[in-house]
């Protein structure tokens, strides 16, 4: 999405409606003071601060919001929500934007983080719990940064903090069907939204 050229503000856009209905937050309450961006631990690596995301929603700039790295770099620490003078739960707004981005399968600006979450869920689906060793290994393999974060591995193993074998839980089949049902439901839901 080009950062140059003029923008066309579209008040009370679909984007705004989606965010407001899914997050329960009133986007227009934001008066752009920037306390959120100022306190956000991740803002310095984001392409837009939380304040700018709120603005993008107010202006109805769909791509700008959904293609930002911000929504993926948000750690949900909720510092913004805790301090917002207008009592907007900005973390929830971010959350709702991620859902929309995921639903629209729009290319995530932070592929690694998206990948991480995806693997995380895959592991849950497979064994019910997260096996950190596998998580790390898979992430490094698929993320094409084979040696990321290996420093601590020996230490972890030495301290018996990482079990080599993934845990086994009886509830796994339950979990798998749960995942399946959720997927189906969400598909259904999206269809309805489209229509």
């Amino acid at each position: 999405m080009s950062m140059t050229g003029t923008i066309k503000p579209s008040p009370s856009s679909d984007l705004q409606n989606f965010v407001e209905s899914r997050s329960g937050q009133k986007v227009l309450r934001c008066y752009q003071c920037g306390k959120c961006s100022a306190g956000c631990p991740a803002s310095y690596v984001m392409d837009m601060g939380p304040r700018q995301i709120m603005r993008a929603i107010q202006l109805g700039l769909r791509e700008k919001a959904l293609e930002s790295s911000t929504i993926w770099l948000c750690i949900s620490c909720q510092t913004c929500s805790a301090r917002c003078p207008n009592e907007i739960d900005i973390a929830r707004v971010m959350e709702s934007l991620r859902w929309l981005a995921a639903a629209e399968k729009s290319e995530p600006a932070e592929k690694d983080i998206a990948l991480f979450h995806q693997l995380f869920l895959t592991l849950i689906k497979r064994s019910g719990r997260v096996h950190e060793l596998s998580l790390g290994a898979l992430y490094n393999l698929l993320g094409r940064h084979p040696f990321a974060n290996m420093k601590r591995l020996p230490g972890m193993l030495a301290r018996g903090k990482l079990s080599v074998l993934p845990p086994r839980v009886k509830g796994v089949d339950e979990i798998r069907s749960l995942f399946a049902k959720v997927k189906a439901m969400e598909k259904e839901h999206q269809k309805r939204e489209v229509e």
Binding site: L121, K161, S163, P167, I175
Partner: protein, 315 residues
């Protein structure tokens, strides 16, 4: 009348990287006559990944555990701040009848969303007056670090003030320790990003540690495995990056409670940290062997029985 019997949800990390949190929690609760019954076949709460990608999943996964606890008819004690947050959020969302029906359909179970979710910190805090402190931490200056997920958002987790929480401080003071007044109790440490954004975790965690140090703390007390990992495991890298002169041990509040109640550092797995607290504990005269307890950790269903004096290692 506070319950002395809880359903217990350790969460994934407490069975691997945060083993010591699990063990110390169980030991302390045992000593206080609080029964922790681990949920059978519990599964992951979905952590940040679920609520990042799917609203439904982020409610359904924790709901599964809530339902299990409901069946046991017990309040659900949680150790990990992330799990705590997710379970609380799920319960909060499920106040909406529609969502509850949806989730019941997903789980294929009767769930009425009656489970009370409590964090272990709150459990011990409620217990503080009943504790018999055999090894006061009086020589210790502690910076209590709560992290973000434990206290936010107030209207959902409702544990303590979001900017200046107090209950861990009060608990530590009850155990004889001195707590420092500092401004970083709830600043974020980088949460689940070490894998994806290590440099960010370094920056944030370093700032927290140096603030704790400046406030004059001997160590930091935490109540969250992620916080612990971020603050404990990366101190070598911080030294390199920020040429820090100091190391600051990071302990779980349950380990500190364990010390005060007389367990030995070894029993509390205090030797498992990357930044070893043992030297510090030795200067403070808190490292001697405590009451000997024989226990084995196989299957993580801790059977504990107190026997004689001699220190016994765990199998």
């Amino acid at each position: 009348m506070r319950p002395d019997n809880y359903a217990y949800y350790p969460g994934c990390t407490l069975h691997s990287t945060a083993k010591e949190y699990d063990v110390s929690a169980r030991l302390v609760c045992h000593k206080l006559g609080i029964k922790l019954q681990e949920l059978e076949n519990w599964t992951c709460c979905g952590a940040s990944s679920a609520h990042t990608t799917s609203e439904l999943l982020s409610i359904a996964l924790p709901a599964r555990e809530l339902q299990a606890a409901e069946e046991m008819g017990l309040p659900l004690a949680v150790a990990c701040a992330m799990c705590f947050s997710r379970l609380k959020h799920s319960a909060f969302e499920l106040a909406d009848k529609e969502k509850l029906d949806l989730v019941n359909e997903l789980l294929g179970k009767e769930f009425h969303n009656t489970t009370e979710v409590v964090h272990l910190l709150k459990v011990l805090y409620e217990e503080r007056d009943a504790m018999t402190v055999s090894r006061p931490l009086s020589s210790l200056k502690i910076a209590c670090y709560y992290g973000c997920l434990l206290v936010r958002p107030q209207e959902i987790v409702d544990l303590d003030d979001v900017e200046d929480p107090q209950i861990m401080d009060q608990l530590m003071e009850r155990l004889g320790a001195v707590t420092v007044d500092w401004g970083f109790k709830t600043e974020c440490c980088g949460a689940s990003l070490p894998l994806t954004k290590p440099e960010m975790v370094l920056k944030l965690s370093h700032r927290i540690l140096s603030q704790a140090k400046q406030a004059g703390a001997d160590c930091v007390a935490v109540a969250c495995p992620m916080c612990h990992n971020n603050l404990d495991a990366y101190q070598k890298d911080m030294k390199r990056k920020y040429s820090d002169k100091f190391e600051l041990p990071v302990l779980y509040f349950t380990q500190l409670a364990g010390l005060a109640l007389g367990f030995s550092p070894k029993q509390l797995l205090l030797d498992k940290h990357f930044t070893s607290p043992l030297p510090m504990l030795r200067d403070k005269g808190l490292a001697d062997a405590g009451i000997a307890i024989k226990y084995n950790l196989r299957l993580y269903s801790l059977q504990v029985e107190e026997i004689g004096i001699a220190e016994v290692r765990h199998g």
